[in-house]
């Protein structure tokens, strides 16, 4: 801290510290405290606020526990988010490896640029593109029909659509951490493994993946959290049977008019996400600070 003040001087140093404090208090602490406060209080008409019925309780959270449809959507959201993270990993790992170790440098630059350009567009519009692609009379069905792979158009909206939309939406969050992890692996490590007779599979399992572990865990954590909190993809590409937990939260706030219950649902989702993240990091033996890097 004294080094910090030494570098920026007392005036500027205090200003920076104050800005960070305001940011933390206003953007992180206050909303979360308000969410917890809302979650633990009953939904009352304005006249009753502060009255004898306005007491803290776990009723809103217990409501979720007892409501079987919401409960199953919650657990489905959790495991489907894990599936999104896994599928994104499966797509990204070979690509990241190729970009980091095999491709010529100028080709790497072109491919990374090509992957980044779509992300200059808003997420809603990108998802809308998938909405068009996956439509019942859309281009994907037309292509598959003309190739003779399917006989009738497939209804992609639903679980398949949501998965595809999310994997696409979060690909960069998985690709970049893994890419930078693999890029730092010395090429001679891979050559040495091959020279000693290791198969491609063993080289990855014993040399590349252990080296890239922190990057893989980081990508998975990012993707899982983004997927669990995603709203656009399930709203646009989903079907009634593929509802996402965020949609239920949205409904409590904007259609049910029960902010307290919505806050309680959001709190449960937040706690569960944090638990999953910490468990993943524990399993991968990666520190939270490594992920932050």
């Amino acid at each position: 801290m004294s080094e910090f003040y030494g570098r920026f001087g007392t005036g500027l140093g205090t200003l920076f510290a104050a800005l960070v404090a305001v940011w933390l208090a206003g953007m992180v602490l206050a909303p979360n405290i308000m969410m917890v406060d809302y979650a633990l209080r009953p939904n009352l008409p304005p006249a009753d606020l502060g009255g004898p019925r306005d007491v803290y309780s776990l009723d809103n959270i217990l409501y979720l526990a007892n409501e079987s449809v919401h409960r199953s959507i919650f657990f489905k959201t959790v495991w489907a988010s894990a599936l999104v993270a896994f599928l994104t990993l499966v797509v990204c790992y070979p690509l990241a490896y190729w970009l980091a170790q095999t491709a010529a440098p100028n080709r790497t630059a072109v491919v990374l640029l090509a992957l980044t350009i779509p992300f200059w567009i808003n997420e809603v519009l990108r998802t809308l593109a998938w909405y068009i692609l996956l439509a019942f009379r859309g281009p994907l069905n037309a292509l598959l029909l003309s190739l003779g792979i399917i006989d009738e158009p497939v209804r992609w909206y639903g679980n398949a659509g949501v998965l595809a939309g999310m994997v696409y939406a979060y690909i960069l969050f998985m690709l970049f951490p893994i890419y930078s992890a693999i890029e730092s692996l010395e090429k001679s490590q891979i050559e040495a493994a091959r020279d000693l007779g290791a198969s491609v599979w063993r080289t990855h399992w014993r040399v590349v993946i252990p080296h890239a572990k922190a990057g893989i865990a980081t990508g998975c954590v990012f993707t899982f959290m983004l997927a669990a909190g995603s709203y656009v993809a399930p709203a646009l590409l989903g079907a009634p049977g593929s509802r996402w937990f965020t949609e239920i939260i949205y409904n409590w706030f904007f259609e049910g008019g029960d902010w307290n219950r919505g806050a309680a649902y959001a709190l449960v989702l937040l706690v569960l996400c944090m638990a999953v993240v910490l468990a993943t990091l524990r399993i991968a033996r990666v520190n939270l600070t490594d992920v932050a890097k």
Partner: protein, 344 residues
């Protein structure tokens, strides 16, 4: 071997005997690493072939060849303990864990690192890591061990120590070593035979002594050890000796192949073959600019009458009668200690 339009290695053909310590010596960029990587199987030659034990290696990858490589960076796996590093090649061959462990211990004993099996590579010193890399390569029982300047990152003292250790290990195991280096003293000290390369072309293959005494090309004469080159025209060639018309008068040295009367050539004479004084054989005169004391000997740097420089090595037992600095002095050499090579 070509990379795009660059010819990295051409006109290279040599045979390495089984159990030999063979070095490939050359300045950086001369193609020696390319040759090593072709032998290892990381590169496929665009033309020509590589035989190991009489078997054509064409189309075989590094995992299918009876070779093991020691990388310049050593490329130990930093996240595996030492014993797993050593046993990695056996693991890849599906050897059972207890057998792998026992074999790793055996190899650790061979390289005098008993008890280091559970350490991580990062906890070892440079010399110890070096030995782990050798043990890891020997674990797959290669016919040929390929070493890509593995000593270049170490300090001089350790390098000299490891030189003799490598040499001794090679004799003990009987494995053929192909050793890449740009350090001529390293190549001369360790090798049974040395191949000298320059600009993708093989210059000469021979025992260290032979390269030093009988360099076949001007490049070898200049690269292997210090030498003095004196230019001139060939006057005559007879009885294995050539006479050179030089600005310093006629000088004689052993003739190499391809000399013809009247052609431009140079006479090469080593600094230690020159003696201060006019007696014995051929004499050249130079003005001494400075004398650097090196320990066992001193090096006198002089200028010849035609402006070229001259280096003379003076044993320190004779320093008492060293030539005076700034004055003209005569140096003599015997014709059998000089060699005349055609200019290329």
């Amino acid at each position: 071997m070509r990379f795009g339009r660059t010819q990295a290695v051409h006109e290279v053909s040599f045979t390495v005997e089984a159990g030999e310590f063979f070095s490939i010596l050359g300045p950086s960029g001369c193609g020696k690493t390319t040759i090593l990587r072709m032998v290892a199987g990381f590169l496929q030659p665009t033309e020509g072939k590589i035989l190991i034990g009489g078997r054509d290696m064409r189309g075989l990858g590094p995992d299918q060849r009876p070779t093991a490589m020691i990388f310049q960076s050593l490329a130990l796996f930093p996240l595996m303990p030492v014993w797993e590093n050593i046993a990695f090649g056996l693991e890849a061959r599906g050897v059972e864990k207890s057998v792998r462990r026992a074999r790793a211990e055996e190899l650790l004993r061979l390289v005098a690192l008993e008890g280091f099996g559970e350490r991580m590579p990062g906890e070892l010193s440079g010399g110890q890591r070096q030995r782990v890399a050798i043990a890891r390569a020997l674990a797959v029982e290669p016919q040929v061990l390929l070493l890509d300047e593995p000593l270049s990152a170490l300090d001089l003292k350790l390098r000299q120590h490891l030189r003799s250790e490598l040499r001794e290990l090679q004799k003990r195991t009987g494995v053929t070593f192909i050793y890449i280096t740009h350090d001529q003293s390293e190549a001369l000290a360790m090798s049974d035979r040395v191949a000298v390369m320059s600009a993708g072309i093989l210059q000469q293959v021979g025992a260290p002594r032979e390269l030093y005494d009988n360099p076949a090309t001007p490049f070898v004469a200049g690269f292997v050890g210090e030498t003095n080159a004196i230019g001139g025209k060939v006057a005559s060639v007879e009885g294995g000796f050539a006479t050179l018309d030089s600005p310093h008068g006629p000088l004689r040295g052993r003739a190499s192949n391809g000399l013809s009367a009247g052609a431009p050539a140079k006479l090469y004479v080593r600094p230690e073959a020159l003696a201060y004084g006019a007696e014995g054989g051929h004499t050249i005169a130079a003005t001494i600019d400075r004398i650097d004391f090196e320990g066992a000997f001193a090096l006198a740097y002089g200028t010849l009458e035609d402006g070229n420089s001259l280096i003379v090595s003076i044993p320190n037992t004779k320093l008492g009668s060293a030539p005076p600095i700034g004055e003209r002095a005569s140096f003599s050499f015997r014709a059998e200690n000089a060699v005349v090579l055609a200019d290329v």
